[in-house]
Amino acid sequence: MASEKKSEQYRIRKAPFIVLGFFVLLWIAGVAAGEPARVLEQAVQVCLSCIGIG
């Protein structure tokens, strides 16, 4: 009874959890493909042309 009353008061939104789950799956797929190594490889180099130099 009390929990019914509580759920009437607070309507849990499902959309954020669906969106969050979707992006977690994307992230896992990217990690499984080995993307973080590529990201790290790019991030540790100074990209001079990217910052308008060179």
């Binding site: 849990i12 994307l26 992230w27 493909a33 990201v39 990217c50 308008g52």
Partner: protein
């Protein structure tokens, strides 16, 4: 609450830029932390940066997508979009208001006494053009003879990169001054324009140009942590309109993509406990602290 937010902004600024050895190493951080996604726009060629910029990384991966696929490497940006999306799904543009160093810099610039102007609402669509056109489509379509492309937003526009990486790298490695050309002067001009615009208007880069802000804005409606409006308590007094740094009319559209959840409306404007914060539908707090305050005292000059 405004003071708390300022400290959180400073904390995140330091967290994303924790490599304070750069004056001695005269280069950027190259450790393993750079595999972590910066929540805000923070150039990863900044000497102090310890995380990667999602917009820079996404462009680099999309720019090399043809070469990767030709080598049977399926690097299409899923981990970067996933990391951005997880942050966006949890906090949306709250990140802009609480964790973005460049947003913080714009807020500080806006405190310089001057005449203040509003930003026409249609200009807000500029950031979606930047996201779709410059960050996604240009690296995919504008390729060289080898099938590679450039991070065009970083290269041509990003004033955060000029401020956080271009200028510091020139100071650290003065010999680079011989290599600067029209690209650098173009970006320096954009930076100067954004700085001047930030003095007279509130967060102009976030509202009109920032592609990361555009991405988070798309998720603002569906984010886990958000401000809510209790229509039974709202009197439509429009007090929330006057304090909002993003010129959001919160009582008319609580899911406005521009809302950065700075909570100015909740703590400095609403006297009727009509604005609250919720996590996934569960209310956490309402604007009770503002109850009884004199609205005239708390209004901030905007627009």
């Amino acid at each position: 609450m405004e003071l708390v937010r300022k400290w959180v902004q400073v904390f995140f600024g330091f967290l994303m830029n924790a490599n304070w050895a750069f004056p001695f190493t005269r280069s950027i951080y190259q450790g393993p932390l750079k595999v972590l996604c910066a929540p805000g726009l923070n150039c990863y060629s900044c000497p102090a940066s310890t995380t990667y910029c999602p917009i820079g990384s996404l462009q680099n991966i999309l720019g090399g997508i043809r070469i990767s696929l030709a080598n049977s490497q399926y690097f299409v940006g899923l981990s970067v979009i996933g990391a951005m999306g997880v942050l966006g799904a949890m906090f949306g543009r709250m990140i802009c208001g609480w964790a973005c160093p460049f947003g913080f810099i714009q807020e500080l610039l806006h405190k310089i006494p001057s005449r203040k102007f509003s930003i026409p609402r249609p200009l807000n669509y500029g950031k979606y053009f930047m996201l779709l056109g410059v960050v996604i489509l240009l690296p995919l379509l504008l390729v060289d003879e080898f099938g590679g492309s450039s991070p065009w937003f970083c290269k041509l526009i990003c004033p955060a990169g000029t401020l956080e990486a271009g200028l510091p790298m020139l100071l650290l490695q003065p010999n680079l001054a011989n290599t600067i050309g029209i690209l650098f002067y173009n970006k320096l001009s954009i930076l100067i324009l954004v700085v001047l615009w930030s003095v007279v208007a509130s967060r102009p880069f976030c509202r009109t140009i920032c592609p990361l802000g555009g991405f988070y804005a798309l998720l603002n409606r569906y984010r886990l942590v958000k401000l809510t409006l209790d229509p039974k308590r709202c009197t439509n007094c429009k007090a929330c309109h006057h304090v909002c740094p993003m010129e959001v009319k919160f009582n008319e559209n609580p899911d406005d993509p521009e809302c950065i959840s700075c909570m100015a409306c909740m703590h400095r404007a609403c006297k009727f406990e009509a604005i609250g914060i919720e996590i996934g539908g569960i209310p956490m707090k309402s604007s009770s602290r503002a109850k009884g305050r004199d609205l005239q005292e708390t209004e901030a000059p905007i627009g």
